[in-house]
């Protein structure tokens, strides 16, 4: 089937809209100035993006042989689910970021074709990504910026199931929840090599009485896939979901699934709260002992992981990007209930690509595409040219 002009135009619409959102995010967060004591974050991302650019469309093709993007997007739209907004954003960023790096490396300009690019493959990937993103968000929008920095994925019945579990604030329990969330967020950030994976905020949802509900989730707590997983937390639950009903609080969600509340210290504006773990269509309340156990596992895992990661070689501070991005991809197949060899094939493929790219990327002082994406004067991502 040939490539139509309409498909190309629609794909380039996605490129432009996503690019504007990415640039706004990178500028606000000063991402091109990001440094880390433990990891080679900018170059690790570049490596992971190249892994996605080379392999994601073909692997995802195996998923689309069994389900549709619309069906899969709706399946993602529930508490505790993984993949979530971050994986969708990483797919788009990875593919387009790596492609943009190739354009820059070859000294090309906006409007130039990328030599050797399979344009049909790129267009198909982008349009499928758009379908997935729009079906995941309950309002059918593409990006949080279209709805005032909101990310709403729960439909009416889904929200009702959460609201039904909210409890009046008990100071002791709320303090326990706050500490647990803080330690879980730190743990998730470290486990994912300073990528903001595993921490998801969504909302705000109108509770109907002038108050707002939003959710903070920490997932991937029982990961046994990445090579450093054995040093992670032995969490008793796979995910933790906290729902807040507040008054006088504003929340802002970004492209990568993060949520920021204003005021930052909103504890005295919380009217009701719930903490639970989510399974396949189930929400189970966590009692105080379980919250304490999750918190302790996270604290122990953080210390153990830090010691392990502090000993990583300079080479591995970059090369861990292969497994890190294979982990993103595997979540799609986990949620679809597809197991078998896919996890092993993803890991083998991404690690081999990381090995292939590592030496070349280490020659770079900085990743030029980061500077372009954060500070460039033209489009963040250049259009696809047939």
């Amino acid at each position: 089937m040939g490539l139509s002009e309409d498909s190309l135009a629609r794909a380039n619409g996605v490129v432009a809209a996503f690019g504007r959102a990415v640039r706004a995010f990178f500028q606000a967060e000063k991402r091109d100035e990001l440094t880390s004591v433990l990891f080679d974050v900018p170059r690790r991302s570049l490596l992971g993006w190249q892994c996605l650019y080379r392999h994601a469309p073909e692997f995802l093709g195996e998923l689309w042989a069994r389900t549709t993007p619309e069906e899969f997007g709706r399946r993602m739209a529930r508490p505790g689910a993984r993949p979530y907004q971050l994986q969708l954003a990483i797919l788009g960023l990875g593919y387009l970021g790596a492609r943009q790096q190739l354009l820059l490396d070859q000294g090309l300009y906006r409007g130039d074709p990328l030599p050797g690019e399979d344009v049909e493959r790129t267009v198909d990937f982008l349009l499928t990504w758009e379908r997935l993103q729009r079906s995941y968000r309950v309002d059918g929008t593409l990006l949080p910026g279209e709805t005032g920095a909101a990310t709403r994925i729960l439909d009416g019945p889904g929200l009702e199931r959460v609201v039904d579990r909210l409890e009046p604030v008990d100071d002791e329990r709320f303090g326990l929840i706050r500490r647990a969330v803080a330690k879980l967020q730190m743990y998730a950030f470290l486990f994912h090599g300073e990528q903001r994976d595993g921490v998801f905020g969504h909302g705000p949802y109108d509770a109907g009485d002038g108050s707002l509900v939003f959710l903070r989730e920490i997932n991937d707590l029982q990961n046994d896939y990445v090579p450093w997983a054995a040093d992670g937390a032995a969490s008793p639950v796979p995910n933790v979901v906290v729902a807040y009903r507040t008054r006088g609080v504003e929340v802002h969600c970004d492209l990568f699934g993060s949520l920021v509340a204003e005021p930052h210290d909103f504890a005295d504006r919380v009217e009701a709260v719930a903490i639970f773990t989510a399974g396949d269509g189930t929400l189970r309340r966590l009692d105080n002992d379980e919250v304490a156990a999750v918190e302790q596992a996270a604290a122990k895992g953080t210390r153990s992981l830090f010691a392990t990661m502090a000993a990583w070689s300079d080479d591995y501070k970059l090369r861990y990007g292969g497994p890190l991005f294979a982990n993103h991809m595997k979540t799609f197949f986990d949620l679809a209930g597809i197991d078998g060899s896919i996890g092993d094939r993803l890991m083998t493929t991404f690690e081999a690509t990381a090995d292939d790219l590592c030496a070349g990327i280490l020659q770079r002082d900085t990743a030029g595409v980061w500077r372009h994406m954060a500070r460039g004067e033209d489009d963040c991502f250049w259009p696809v040219v047939a």
Partner: protein, 121 residues
């Protein structure tokens, strides 16, 4: 006690402990095994919590010369209920490392041995 510095208390309440400067991963690994960790107030120059992450749930407080109410360090400290002073200015070049200090509720930092090291910033 004398005022040795001041910043903004963005989390927790006033507290007293022994100041420890943390600059490298080795500093963090060493402190992780310190049996007196619960009496430590960290001195760190970074407003990112990542480098000192394994220490945060056990130490008594943090003093940082940079950062503000929205920095990563402030956000994490708030959820942990940890005393955290950011944007701290010291008036002398003397190092607080190893000395007993007090963080006051208004963000002032005091040295228990009477040495004047800083002023409000």
């Amino acid at each position: 006690m004398d005022v040795v510095g001041a910043g903004e208390l963005v989390s927790g309440k006033g507290t007293t402990g022994v100041a420890h400067r943390v600059e490298t991963i080795d500093d963090v690994l060493e402190l992780m095994n310190d049996p007196e960790l619960s009496d430590v107030i960290l001195l760190t120059d970074s407003a990112s919590a990542t480098a000192i992450m394994p220490l945060l749930d056990e130490v008594r407080g943090i003093i940082c010369p940079v950062g503000g109410r929205t920095s990563h360090l402030a956000t994490v400290s708030r959820e942990l209920g940890l005393a955290c002073v950011v944007g701290t200015t010291f008036t002398t070049g003397d190092d607080l490392d190893g000395r007993r200090v007090t963080i006051a509720d208004d963000g002032t930092v005091l040295a228990d041995d009477g040495t004047v090291l800083g002023a409000a910033g």
